[in-house]
Symmetry: C2
Subunit: 293 residues, 2 copies
Amino acid sequence: MTETEFIAALRALPLHPGAHGLLDDAALLRASDDTLVLSTDTMVEHVHFAANLPPADIAWRLLAAALSDLAAKGARPEGVLLSITLAGDEGDAALVGGLDAALRHFGCPLLGGDTVRRAGPGAPRVHGCTAIGRATHLPVPLRTGARAGDALWVTGTIGAALLGFEVPETAPNAYRRPEPLIAHGVALAPLVPAMMDVSDGLLLDAARMAGASGLAVAIALDSIPVPQALAGEVIRAATWGDDYQLLFALAADAAPPVPATRIGAFSAGTGLSLTHAGRSVPLPDRLGYLHGG
Amino acid sequence: MTETEFIAALRALPLHPGAHGLLDDAALLRASDDTLVLSTDTMVEHVHFAANLPPADIAWRLLAAALSDLAAKGARPEGVLLSITLAGDEGDAALVGGLDAALRHFGCPLLGGDTVRRAGPGAPRVHGCTAIGRATHLPVPLRTGARAGDALWVTGTIGAALLGFEVPETAPNAYRRPEPLIAHGVALAPLVPAMMDVSDGLLLDAARMAGASGLAVAIALDSIPVPQALAGEVIRAATWGDDYQLLFALAADAAPPVPATRIGAFSAGTGLSLTHAGRSVPLPDRLGYLHGG
């Protein structure tokens, strides 16, 4: 598709009123007395998705990753701005179809964005999504708010996306169609001093929360909820990403209002430590995905 | 640089309070009773910039392009979210230095963003910028607001960026260091029914404004202000992009409050028509840059 054809196709998607029919370079957002939550996610072909991933799945994962960051702040999506690389082939129309399906599923309208062509026929596609949401509770739970003595909890299971990626028939949607946990995030936001989503690997993300909060965190590997098929591979599950579960700190004597599992605790100090059946376990060489370098 | 090193370097840049030290995936923006203006721009190596453009110039142009969209809506910059491809070489540090210089020059803090690595050593770098501003006047002038009978005006000169690109010594900063015309945009916003920036070529952008407004537009080529060195090449100047001047509609009997030149008029109908010395001139094959397809 050409840029003109692509933008014309985008006009049939659910549009935010502030998108003004995508007839302008800029989108408008009327804010009343709100705190807006903003997050940008970028996906690179060969790095974040395989060249043969269907465009509809690429679209879904792009939106889900950005909306998951809003979920982790207890924010409801207001709209997204997209940056799309046109491939110039039939995949472009499939991508529009996928964006349409995902926006409708997530109840999130398109605010605006930009399209670019790629540097050449073989150049990797790079897509970006900036998601804007409205906070439902103040203060917004950041990564920085965990307190010594808090427990560490995680929703759902860890490793479902890994399983869905490697053995699609066992978990057909876990990798290709992740669900941003907006309702869980809204329910948790008033109760949790710190929250983030698990996008780069549970161990890495937990270490980041501890680091941002100036604390140490200990995780009991045998408490991490993994799919049955990964029962013997908890380290691998906990260092893979893409699960988009919510990871949060909670006072030691509190119970969360959503299905979740207590997997560790914060304490004074620094760094991540692991145990299994009560015994110390060395850290793996790699805690998760680190991009660049 | 690794992702960790790069983000550490970004922490030394002017940060928005809502960036929370870049310790979180999401940025927070406290909105009072405002209209926010949002725009995303993406730059692809080999498409939007040459591989040998210094990283500091890439950084400047990335920010200027996004902030120019805010200028065209009469909005003042509130902050930017960046999406940066790490090259993994010494250019990464130079890019951070360029972002720092540009953010300080534009008086615009960093709100957040994302970093990705490229698919391979030779893969083109792709950088994105989502700019968020606060409108200074309602209604915000869109592309859609021109009225039959309005005159078409443009600020500055058209073709300066082309000249700066082809003959850098004559216009050293016009291509590499464009200035988003924020103050001009703020001054114009209360007076103009339609406004946009000239990023893809004057003729193409004027045709877009006319199309979005459901009108025809006629432009007198001999009235377009071009640099002396391009006096015989007005079509080439008016189909090149990157000038980031402001193009606006204005009531026929009004004068703008900023230096600008009247170059045409809107009327009922559709399409772009050109004249030179009062005589009709055929349209060039290409009106400006169209990406994709």
